[in-house]
Symmetry: C2
Subunit: 293 residues, 2 copies
């Protein structure tokens, strides 16, 4: 089958269930090595088109966000949580910058999770996560998340296997409870290749303005690449539920990555279908009263 046929197939799928159905993690065993990290499934045909589409997407996102916020003022509990995971340099921070920058910052709550603090370590792993959840009407963004507790915690053996192996179930129940509370959880794995990571780390070294983003430890961590991929496969597979599925976004091309995450966000907001609340007051009477002031 040629490239053109692939594209047609992709477009068909997109028409059926949007980019959601196209990027959703398959039910069967996942082999991340099989994914083409430079692919652009369902996406615009190049960077120029993607940037133009982003302008349009941002406008639509801003409109939906305002409605989401507006309806919360009338008591609607719904919110959205975007979870971004991926290897170092996969572009979690860049995605936040490009996708969320057009939103109204008052309704956006971004949390970048680092190594747990002493205080955080004294609590169950979901403690700091719960504190950072979006409130009704808000869009929350997690740059790293509770998944670190089954990723680095597993690879680096920060806790015994008996502990991390229980966490998959804990996470699934937690995310179900979020859904019950009206939180739409959108989980995105930004998938880059081993080669692309090297390229990006080198680029950081070559630009003094980016040295602050570089960490010597990142080099040693690359030796653990296979273990991390395995940990990701386990996390993605075991925690991709109907309630909160995982989406795999090929992320070697930044323009596709930004477009795809914006598009996924849009589709989920459209599913929520937020509406401006109706006035709970007499508009004409208020108008007359105002004119008397």
């Amino acid at each position: 089958m040629g490239k053109k046929d692939d594209r047609k197939k992709a477009d068909r799928k997109k028409a059926d269930g949007g980019l959601r159905s196209l990027l959703r993690l398959p039910q069967d065993r996942v082999d991340l090595a099989e994914y083409d990290t430079r692919a652009t499934p369902g996406g615009p045909d190049g960077k120029t088109t993607a940037l133009a589409e982003m302008v349009r997407l941002r406008e639509r996102l801003a409109g939906l966000q305002e409605r989401l916020y507006a309806q919360s003022t009338a008591g609607d509990p719904r919110s959205l949580l975007l979870v971004l995971q991926g290897m170092d340099t996969s572009g979690k921070g860049g995605t936040v910058k490009h996708v969320a920058a057009g939103l109204n910052p008052t309704g956006v709550r971004v949390t970048a999770f680092k190594a747990p603090t002493a205080e955080e370590s004294q609590h169950p792993f979901l403690w700091r996560i719960r504190k950072a959840l979006p409130k009704p009407g808000e869009i929350g963004v997690f740059d790293r998340s509770h998944y670190e507790d089954v990723l680095i915690a597993r690879v680096r053996e920060l806790v015994p296997e008996a502990t991390w192996s229980r966490r998959y179930g804990v996470i699934n129940r937690f995310e179900q409870s979020l859904a019950d509370d009206g939180v739409t959880v959108v989980k995105v794995f930004l998938h880059i290749s081993y080669e692309e990571q090297r390229k990006r780390l080198l680029a950081r070294l070559d630009n003094p303005d980016k040295h602050w983003k570089f960490n010597e430890g990142d080099i040693a961590e690359r030796a653990l690449w296979p273990a991390y991929q395995q940990a990701y496969e386990a996390a993605l597979t075991r925690c991709s539920t109907d309630t909160a599925p995982w989406y795999v976004v090929p992320a070697d091309r930044k323009w596709y990555r930004n477009w795809a995450v914006a598009q996924l966000l849009l589709e989920h907001l459209e599913l929520i279908g937020p509406q401006y609340p109706k006035a709970d007051f007499d508009v004409a009477a208020c108008r007359a009263a105002l004119l008397r002031t």
Copy 2:
């Protein structure tokens, strides 16, 4: 003196101490009624120019914000807190949207303070404020703030005079402590006229998509306009210090308001003068090590 001379004078002032010196609250007694809320001191000559300048300002703000964030990763404690106050419909939310929307949301922490919750009411008035302060490297934005505790609290007599009258000093010491901790506090009063508020409330009533922003209580509140202006005059005068002066931004024209707040933000970030931190590792050695992976 003609309009042209006024403009020249404004430009001269701007060259001396920036928009900061032009909009800073004067030392002597303040009469808010004397301010022209439609004025555009030091600003672009119209909406079109202002919008073009905003694009340029946003880019510069984003660059400075990245440096501010970057230097915090190397231990620099500095941050910035933008405090927005103003009567209902003065455009606090709109300012956040237009000024902060170009920033990287990961480094921005916006808090819109509402009437205190039951829990907040059980604590001293600065308790909820302290919890919302920006961390090192962040830009915090307060849509309303601790000043509500000497504004509505005074006008509506929510606490005895003995309580609110002590708060001016408490606020000044608090803001001094913030400065000591490396927080640059930029306090902006968005000044609209009584007529302009009516116009904006009517516009909300006339657009069903804006009904959610309308509150019946806003009409009755207008009867207290003089009392609020008086409370603002007291707060602005008593809490405009060398450490954290108040800026009065004429806000009837939205394009000027957005431009002026962005410009004030820029000038304060430039005073901080954030720098990318130097590498604390051997760049060449890391480069070689990376190529071996």
